[in-house]
Amino acid sequence: MKRKHKRLTFIVLGMGLLATAAALMLSAFEDNIVFFYSPTEVLDKKLGAERRVRIGGLVEDGSVKKAGIEVTFRVTDLANVIPVTYTGILPDLFREGQGVIAEGRFVNGVFRADEVLAKHDETYMPPEVAEALKKSGRWQETEKTLKRSGQMDRMGTAQ
């Protein structure tokens, strides 16, 4: 095989690989990307059960009810509220009044989460949640509440 042909073999091989990878990625993107919505956006969009989504906001005060391994709570961006159900043990840092992200589907207006993320660090606010709060125009109040609970120094950086 001539040098030129050989080089061509490798180029064709490389291109083929890239094409395969691109095809794999495109098909995987189609099915596996999960969009994030704030409670307000959820109500605007009237989401159904067909798609997995993430929602995020604060866990509303006094909304957490546990019955065995069944948990219900409400996620709020201080403008709108979404009821959530979850089966299992919640993360250690899941608390009322703190930021949370839940992943799952809507079933009859209730968000059925199969994954709940609260952050490792109690003083950390997920950027998505901070933005959801800002969008709902209630950021200032949250800032005050958080300042009281000593969360402010790093909240500011989420802006």
């Binding site: 040098r3 091989l13 794999l24 990625m25 993107f29 099915d31 994030f36």
Partner: protein, 665 residues
């Protein structure tokens, strides 16, 4: 005072780095030996100054000097000593200081061990190292000063996130950084070679041990982080395709490719441009990893503290380093002529194919990691790209690589036939079939890909053994001759065999733990029994216990199999009052076939009932064991005398390749 001394030393280190980044480079350009010689004492001085600075910060943490902001935020007098020390790098500022400390350690190591490098190459390598150091010291001084004072000093600190108070995690960042930063040496060698305009077998022989050191540390560091996630987060998972995990995995993939392509440069004097490119890409991905973790642009379970100003600084640094080196590569790269020619079917060909698969996989991970950022930047909404995406893309790309890994070592350099190699691998093929059938017999209802994956793991394991057997001509020559050959097998070959075999075992473990996990969540009263994977777990109750800086609810579970007791497990739910933060301490009983994993949750009602979560995680010890063997393989390979840093003699293979590796030492 101590803090000011530390800051002053760091500032001096910056000045030394600036000198080291300029004088030797100019010296190398003009052929001025005295100017080039500046690099060595400068590198040592830089290391001593940064080490002193780091020691000052450590002293502040150990003595709980609460006039320092970093100590106030991340330490507490009640913390055990180990975590006072690990607190130094558990925060952003200190971890960046650790980053430059490790950079300077590597720089000083080049100064110490690089005596027989050609003077101009050595001067340039150390000059490039100093440029990186200067960039990062500037970053620390401008955006993340670890010696910032907090006056008046409070009485006590805010403590360290309890999740980080863990021996596994105490050593995770240093190992990871030893890996990340270690690739800077390969990078500096690549840039220096581009400036010099020559890459030869000798160059590759100098680069290989450094890359190998970085690879060993990175492998161990990633495994430690994964192990920590496994036992500390209490979800029974060990890899989440989380952006920060990906950030460490991408340099690993590229670095693994670099390790293998450098072999081809050394032995066959070809793939030079590609190897230089990989060296640049690997370090670029290491920097990107630092950026992703430190800038907080991504939502991640690891994002502890963030600041956009820092992100911007690192991003600029990243653009300068990557853009500059790639531009240099585009300019000087085409001049790197390769002399070795080879057919597509050959050892080189198989290494190149694996290189392509590894880098494509790294690119896929990169795309999935950055896509949410990109979409958000163009206003496309907020998305997350999770495990389903990565599994769907990564596994099909990496499976063929594993398949080829068994064949490659059986091919000869330059030109080979696949037929005889495959014929020799009939044992491996039989083993693969047997593994599939066995796995199917034991676990009938698992996903089909897991069965095939087990076959692939068996193929690689037995194929690696066959490759070794071929090398010592087992059963082909009289047995004493085989023994003699075993004695003569170079350590690098032992290392490869171990690393490939370890990967095979690790893959089997990952498949077992990933695909066949059994999970059971329920409320249990004292005396309740749950059956999971053939074991019966009996909840005996829970009581309060007191730790050094926490209080805990400690559950007791007795586990039995077929009526015979197996083990008693004590999971805890801890509460750290200083940090006002709870943690879950899973109780794990590892066995050869799987881990018993028990987590205790919240109390339910007043009759002593608790929510409990019980897992059976099959083959987890195979995964950790396999990775340990890989790391051991790396170390054995590193001990090969041909890998000894700057070993002067060109190896037989390199000389035979006609590369004419000039012994320039």
């Amino acid at each position: 005072m101590i803090a000011e001394a530390g800051l002053f030393a760091l500032t001096l280190a910056l000045l030394v780095a600036l000198v080291q980044a300029s004088v030797p480079m100019i010296g190398a350009h003009r052929g001025n030996a005295a100017w080039m010689e500046v690099a060595r004492p400068a590198a040592i001085a830089q290391f001593l100054l940064i080490a002193f600075s780091f020691a000052c910060l450590t002293y502040a943490f150990v003595t709980s000097d609460f006039s320092l902001l970093a100590v106030v935020r991340y330490s507490h007098t009640a913390k055990p000593m180990l975590y006072k020390i690990s607190g130094v790098w558990a925060n952003h500022e200190g971890s960046m200081l650790l980053w430059v400390l490790i950079l300077s350690v590597y720089g000083a190591a080049v100064a110490a061990f690089g005596r027989n490098l050609p003077p101009s190459l050595r001067a340039r390598v150390m000059g490039v190292q100093a440029m990186i150091a200067a960039g990062f010291i500037l970053f620390i001084l401008f955006t993340s000063n670890p010696f910032e004072r907090m006056l008046p000093a409070p009485d006590n600190g805010q403590g360290l996130n309890p999740l980080l108070q863990d021996p596994g995690l105490a050593f995770h960042p240093p190992f990871l950084y030893m890996g990340y930063v270690g690739f800077s040496i390969a990078f500096s060698f690549a840039v220096a070679a581009l400036i010099e305009g020559r890459v030869d077998a000798a160059w590759a022989r100098w680069v290989r041990p450094w890359t190998l050191v970085a690879w060993i540390f990175l492998t161990a560091g990633i495994a430690m982080g994964s192990w920590w996630a496994y036992y500390e987060l209490g979800w029974g998972g060990w890899w989440f395709w989380d952006p920060v995990e990906n950030a460490s995995f991408m340099p690993w993939l590229a670095g693994t490719a670099l390790l293998h392509s450098a072999v081809v440069v050394e032995k066959r004097d070809t793939l030079k441009g590609w190897t230089i490119f990989l060296a640049i890409v690997t370090f670029a991905l290491s920097l990107l990893g630092t950026f992703l973790v430190r800038s907080g642009v991504l939502t991640s379970v690891h994002t502890f503290a963030t600041d956009p100003a820092r992100g911007t600084f690192i991003l600029v640094l990243l653009l300068v380093v990557i853009g500059g080196s790639l531009a240099l590569f585009a300019w000087r790269g085409p001049a790197l002529a390769s002399t070795g020619v080879f057919q597509p079917i050959s050892r080189e060909g198989s290494l190149l194919l694996n290189n392509l698969l590894l880098t494509t996989a790294a690119a896929a991970v990169l795309l999935g990691t950055l896509y949410p950022l990109f979409l958000d930047a163009v206003g496309g909404g907020k998305v997350s790209v999770g495990p389903p995406f990565f599994n769907a893309v990564f596994l099909p790309l990496i499976a063929p690589m594993v398949a080829v890994m068994a064949v490659g070592p059986l091919l000869t350099w330059k030109r080979a036939d696949v037929g005889p190699a495959l014929t020799r691998l009939w044992v491996a093929f039989a083993a693969a079939l047997a593994a599939v059938v066995l796995a199917w017999a034991v676990i009938a209802d698992g996903p089909i890909f897991a069965l095939l994956g087990m076959g692939l793991a068996a193929w690689l394991l037995v194929g690696t053994v066959v490759g070794f057997a071929e090398r010592v001509r087992l059963f082909r020559v009289p047995f004493p001759e085989t023994l003699r050959r075993i004695g003569r097998v170079p350590r690098a070959a032992w290392g490869m065999t171990l690393a490939h075999g370890g990967l095979a075992v690790a893959i089997a473990g990952m498949i077992g733990a990933g695909a066949w996990k059994v999970e059971s969540i329920q409320t249990m009263k004292p005396g309740d029994t749950v059956a999971v994977a053939g074991f019966t777990f009996t909840f005996e109750g829970a009581r309060q216990v007191q730790g050094p800086n926490y209080s805990a609810t400690r559950g007791t579970f007795t586990v039995a199999r077929d009526g015979r007791p197996v083990v008693t497990l004590h999971p805890e739910k801890r509460d750290y009052p200083v940090e006002r933060s709870p943690t879950t301490e899973a109780a794990i009983h590892p066995t050869f076939f799987g881990d018993l994993y028990v987590v205790i949750g919240d109390a339910q009602g007043s009759d002593g009932a608790f929510v409990t979560r019980i897992y059976f995680n099959p083959l987890v010890v195979w995964m950790w064991g396999g990775i340990l063997v890989m790391v051991a393989g790396g170390m054995v390979s590193l001990s090969d005398r041909r890998h000894r840093v700057g070993a002067p003699k060109p190896s037989r293979a390199a000389a035979g390749a006609g590369a004419g590796a000039p012994a320039r030492a």
